[in-house]
Subunit: 349 residues, 2 copies
């Protein structure tokens, strides 16, 4: 089994972290690096970014030509769809809330249950998930892409040494585009880099509270989703850590087994990847099932279920102000042009 980090208390966090090889120090607060980790076998090139952006926005990669990656992970917004759960082909609803694509390059595993060990792995999943993009097979995805001459040349530019159109190349291109989706420059980051006026007094109080209350035991690191770990190394947490609060039933917090649904190992029941705090204020509703509608309620629920603490209203407001300071600057992007299919079309419908 793969090494992974899982903690139940701050004490255990530090005990665990101390054994992680290569981890220099535990920093609760770090500015977002300008560049994310990049796997050695998929270096970033402009041609790959451009191709990946086309694929990311192309609804023809779904069975009936209606759903693109961007449908659920909308980069014109907070990188999600602002809905409790996503809607795929034929109006089907998924059971989980779409995680944001912004800064996902800083996550060491992907999906709520960490079942993909890289962005490349993740990109392959929704294409053939019957309730998401619904393609019958990756082979059909490739067949459809090959019908579009502009894609054929774009793959040649993006993969000059081996320009065969394969699902691995599709995933590499999409992942490369996603590695450009970084939001530095939040008020918090400016504060972290020395601009002490960047944060309001309320946000500064919130910054203190997330440490003293204990939130940063898990929400640490540059993406506030745990320490930077090698790609493929998950940072899981039990949710709820303190079961039995009113929130369990109110928000059906335990209906979904999380990591258990992947491994069928009882020890993994209720284990979830720690999500990022960056841009969290623009990605309501909250949690894996999108059951919590507002950020202030999400703060209350987390304090109770993870730390067994009842926060005062003022504390909630201060923490919310701090979380709002983590909304970054979304880079300007040009729209892609989607490859044409002169005189015909590729969605069989």
């Amino acid at each position: 089994m793969k090494t992974f980090i899982s903690i139940k208390t701050p004490f255990l966090l530090f005990a665990t972290l101390s054994v992680v090889a290569g981890l220099k120090s535990v920093q609760a607060f770090e500015a977002l690096p300008a560049k994310p980790p990049v796997p050695a076998d998929n270096p970033i090139t402009q041609a790959k970014v451009e191709l990946g952006k086309q694929l990311y926005f192309d609804p023809r990669l779904s069975k009936d030509g209606t759903i693109s990656c961007n449908s659920c992970h909308n980069v014109m917004a907070g990188g999600d769809d602002n809905r409790p759960n996503s809607v795929g082909v034929k109006g089907q609803h998924g059971g989980r809330s779409a995680p944001t694509v912004w800064n996902s390059a800083f996550m060491s595993v992907q999906f709520w249950d960490g079942r993909a060990k890289s962005l490349e792995d993740q990109a392959k999943g929704p294409l053939t998930n019957p309730i998401e993009m619904g393609m019958d097979s990756h082979a059909l995805v490739i067949e459809r892409i090959k019908k579009m001459p502009e894609y054929v040349s774009a793959f040649k530019k993006a993969f000059p040494k081996d320009s065969d159109i394969t699902i691995d190349h599709v995933a590499k291109a999409i992942a490369t585009y996603e590695r450009t989706l970084i939001t530095p420059g939040s008020a918090f980051d400016r504060h972290q880099k020395g601009d002490k006026k960047a944060l309001s007094a309320q946000a500064v109080r919130g910054m203190g509270l997330v440490q003293s209350v204990g939130c940063t035991s898990c929400h640490s690191g540059p993406n506030f989703a745990g320490p930077m770990l090698p790609e493929g190394t998950p940072f899981f947490q039990k949710f709820p850590t303190f079961p039995g609060s009113k929130y369990d039933s109110q928000y059906k917090l335990t209906a979904d087994g999380g990591r258990f649904e992947v491994t069928k190992n009882e020890a993994d029941r209720g284990m979830w990847r720690v999500p990022t705090w960056r841009n969290v204020s623009v990605t309501a509703p909250y949690f894996h099932n999108g059951a919590v509608k507002t950020l202030d309620e999400a703060i209350r629920v987390m304090a109770k279920t993870q730390l067994n603490k009842d926060l005062k209203d003022d504390e909630v407001k201060d923490i919310q102000a701090f979380l709002e300071s983590l909304t970054g600057k979304f880079p300007e992007q040009k729209m892609p042009r989607l490859p044409a299919t002169p005189g015909e079309y590729v969605v069989a419908d």
Copy 2:
């Protein structure tokens, strides 16, 4: 009843056109003007374009937050959805094929049946169409928009004299953005402006054929959709003009009554707005019901049903080459940023 242009033969076309006030001459071939007509009560401003683009791309203007204008009229592609018919909220299918938004500013009426007399009028329709964006009322659209503070400021900038958020202002902003969606610079346009090398010999033969065969009786004017008429003045045509061919049943050409479905007047049965030829090669499938899959077949069907002519294969290929020369240069566009809803969300679902 409003004046409208409806023709059955080239002879009648010219007879009818000669009585249209203000029409200087009938030109089969015109380069696309750089700017479209703009109604006096909705001048183009940058603030309005930017707001309109946000609204155009915002899926939160649909009932469940999944469908935006761009879902069916994709400006990253040919301005449509490359499907026989469109898919709205809850996976519902419409009965007609989405017309392209590109150069729609040059159309004097909107929708296949011409039921909207302006882009402004058109923009209001899909919002509350139960099988398109599915909002219960325009009032709910406005209520939702008002919950987003960045929209409130954007409306102030776009409509400084009367910045109330109304459905008319929503429609005016969207229509203004659409008036920027113009594709000059096609091979045909360059040829028209003197670059005689811009068209292949085959396309030049096709250009001759569309005149000699009779296609340009209707597909004339800068948008190849009839003469430029005052806003609100439709240019309708009977389809099929020559009923009884094998295509009627093969492609169910008469199942939809067209203009009749709006007026319930038998004289309007089978009357349709003449669609544009510009970018037609990137908007398959074809016709109001999207029943014809390829451009070559669409050419055969039109020659038979409208002119009672059976084209030879070479003639079809030449005409197709000419139609492909009408694909314009799609302007580069920046992606909009969609207004945030800090800490909460607006789609009730």
